[in-house]
Symmetry: D2
């Protein structure tokens, strides 16, 4: 899992409001809301706390339900948006990297997704005659997390990239959001690069189009909200309620409102250091993450294999 407060550019944008250097547009695809945030300038990047790049969020409350999987619309939307971010028509091997820890449910999205990717590179290289030529070469790695391997994930991933020399890299990771309703309800795609395991330790290796020399797209789904964020949220609701109870225009209400700005709320809710290491998740996260992993894998497979029908991809898995 990445960043401290939110890994979603959309939420960062909601928090800072409209600012110069950051563009945003929204589009409704059926029941699904697609938001495109473009961090254009260094100033915008600083204010947002996110590197320059494009961030696409795909929101749908039903995201993690088995039904959503079955109707295939969502997989198609993910495939489309991913294709747009990868850019120009591509050839050559695509590498999918599943970041995170398979053994920790809320961090297991990446390794689960790689387990459902249609890999073909080994057949394409060793026994090309056995493979339908419409199938694009794809490989998939799950480098593990630093706490388990003892090796910076970026370092391992870079070694794999340098050895395999793929045409593009798609990295899948679990994210943290600020809002509970986005847990397992939003997919974010971004071409701003990948910083595996950010926040843990200080030596991190950023994997970007610049450092690797190939298109890099990160795909993530928020799996948790940090407990500290929940505290902040509850505090805001409660202070607003106190304001109402005191009567909006009383001196007390005004005074309380003084505590209601972004920064002070943050400060007040972070005093409780013991919140660290705790996260808020839906009770049913185990099942939800299985469904979402299948969905994201479907999106990636359909994007990388444009000449295959959905049924053909499934049959080859």
């Amino acid at each position: 899992m990445a960043c401290i407060n939110t890994d979603l550019a959309l939420e960062a944008r909601e928090a800072v409001g409209e600012i110069p250097g950051v563009e945003m547009e929204q589009e409704k695809k059926g029941e699904t809301l697609v938001t495109r945030v473009h961090v254009v300038t260094p100033m915008g990047a600083r204010r947002m706390g996110k590197p320059i790049g494009r961030y696409v969020t795909i929101e749908n409350e039903e995201l993690s339900r088995a039904e959503t999987l079955r109707d295939r619309e969502m997989g198609g939307i993910i495939a489309e948006e991913l294709r747009a971010l990868l850019g120009e028509e591509q050839d050559g091997c695509a590498m999918v990297a599943g970041l995170g820890n398979r053994e920790l449910t809320p961090d297991s999205l990446g390794p689960r997704v790689t387990g459902e990717i249609l890999v073909s590179r080994h057949i394409k290289e060793n026994m090309p005659d056995f493979l339908d030529e419409r199938v694009r070469s794809v490989c998939a790695v799950s480098p593990g997390v630093m706490g388990v391997t003892g090796i910076d994930t970026g370092e391992l991933l870079r070694a794999a990239v340098e050895s395999v020399r793929p045409a593009c890299l798609i990295a899948v990771d679990s994210l943290a959001a600020r809002s509970r309703r986005r847990i397992l309800g939003t997919v974010q795609l971004s071409d701003a690069g990948v910083v595996p395991g950010s926040g843990v330790g200080n030596h991190r290796t950023a994997l970007t189009r610049e450092t690797l020399g190939l298109p890099v797209v990160a795909i993530g789904v928020p799996m948790v909200v940090r407990a500290a964020v929940i505290g902040r949220e509850a505090l805001e609701t409660a202070l607003n309620s106190i304001v109402r109870r005191e009567g909006n225009e009383t001196p007390m209400a005004r005074r309380i409102r003084g505590y209601l700005d972004e920064e002070t709320l943050e400060e007040l809710s972070q005093e409780d250091a013991s919140m660290r290491g705790f996260v808020v998740t839906p009770v049913s996260i185990d099942e939800a993450v299985r469904n979402v992993a299948t969905l994201v894998a479907e999106g990636i497979n359909r994007c990388l294999q444009p000449e295959l029908k959905y049924e053909e991809i499934q049959a080859m898995l």
Copy 2:
């Protein structure tokens, strides 16, 4: 998982303070704090929101660590306290019931524990000559949860009890606490009876010494704090901080303190209905629950097999 706010009598007692009809004593065993709450009168039960009975909590911050498992002291404490609650020296088959849903990590304690119980009833009944005669007859069931079976768990468990006719029943379940530090850090034992899946639906079957005609002890470990409780906790911390900032004796501080009583905090933090279905857990719950399940199973095995050494029990598992 059971109750709305806390399943721990200790926390209910902390919330209501000292009241008539409820007795409490504490004992330190090494690094471990054992608290015995005795709800004696119907009035005490009403005030506490807990049935009449004895509740023992065993608290140790290291509870879920692999090291704690290895030194065996904690297993011994659980065995001792369990024996005290089961009462008079026993003969006959003991039944251990693992309540909860094996597929939901924070609800999986019960079924995990039953998987590590030394069961012997089938050998004792069918091939007694193959069994060391010091081994007591024990059986273990995991009836599953109503959402998965379609059957009230209490109904299934009662059917098993009536068919097997054990001498005592020990039911293990996951609990919810109010305080994060008690998650996976506290074991509660109680002779007040078991209400499987309380809170879900309204037809519940209480399993008690009275309804079953045999000693019934419930063992539970808090696995989560409900998200709403976290909000309340964060709010309390924040309001106290506002009081300090305003200056303790200012009119504003006094006014704020008015919101700091138990009931109002509860009210304010429950306004956010969307918290339902969300729980707060440690990131590493998957591993912690494995360790705690092994620990609780050790405690039960050592209690039920007083004539076997720890090593003998392990060797028979």
Copy 3:
């Protein structure tokens, strides 16, 4: 897992040949072969080593492939054959029992299937207004195996049946076959009753229409071939090859052929007692059993919910 050599009536019939008191018919449904063996008389039962009753096998080499799951034809065939065995149009609650040990891959079919059954009894009984009235009441239990619970599985299941009083019982279990190609390639349905954990211990409780007073159908899929059977198979192939090498009509060939009858082969291959406890499975059994469990659950769900479309069932799971 049940019987010593084969749990499939079809294979028993193949071994004994055509005998009085046993009827057999075959039907081709697309790529799938449906064989119906009817053991009619006690004499037939003795010769077959199978109780009187109807046994339907559904054979398809692709049974365990993800593709088979997706085209839904096979689920429909299972539903149809199950309905025929259950008999007259039914009302009232159906109970599905998953026999076997969830923790042992080749014995895990039953518990996996129950995890995918659409259960509704608890809603039907407690909150009928929340349930589409076309949904039939269904419940599902996984009593566990005797080695883990210490209780005869039949005893636990009978207790559940007597408490819930369902209108019919469908019991799912892992089977052993004689032929490797039937592993995970055949579904057997039978109305001859269920003997959970046959072969283990001697006290077993048969669950039949007669003992329970309600229709009982067993559904099973062979997951393994016992190692001893493989030995027999290899021996037969080798002796035939020796016969060919020696020249069909030489005295040596004739002598060898003397060893090629059923009984002698059995004898010769059973001399190696050390084969016990070993089974033959496909390398990829873990994945195959997941697919087959989903398939069998689909068949049961579609049989028990004739008024719901496949998509409606899936949406409610």
Copy 4:
């Protein structure tokens, strides 16, 4: 899993008998038999079907039992033999590689072992002050299998080795044996190099002391016997029995004995091509592999951390 018939040099030696260029010695350590086979010459290597190098097998029937884990003797023996093969006193980071497929029980040994290795490299490099200085730097990778990643395992592992530049490489893998009693009953250590996924495809990358420039030790445990081998074993038993029945010195017996040499048996038992893809395993392999993985991890941890006591290692895991 590796080789066609047996991955154990000990079994290859048993099959070919005493030959020039291959040395063998045995030592009894308590109940455990340690056999050291040294393939010295190219001729010996050809006859054995094994590369030049030292092969140590540690055999104990109780290997996979939980009790064996508890008494720690076996872990000590593995540590000792591993140290002898790694050679001269070492400094610098050790890399442990878990080969095989975590999702396939009989191929999951490697990834399971890496999950229990004490990794320290990341702390040693980034926060050395937080680490007891007696702890040696260790890292652990699980590159996955080619069928899942699309990348030759040797290629991925070599990339990791070249990036991390460890002082030595220890590779753990599941093996196939010829004899059922060696399944989960034998540990083999070898300094002859590692050929991940041998047998699958033809492009394989051997990882040896020569190609990598550092000590390489492979550790493996047989998890299966290929079904074809079982057939051969059954055939041998049966033919011997036929010889006895015919009367040892009759012409028929002598003729049959003609089929009893190694090569013919192999031929006869390999006629059944359908055996491919099937393996023979103990019914309880799921549990056994967990125990053996913990045991092998203990051996590696104790070897790599000679300055730490067993308890200290466990406490740091």
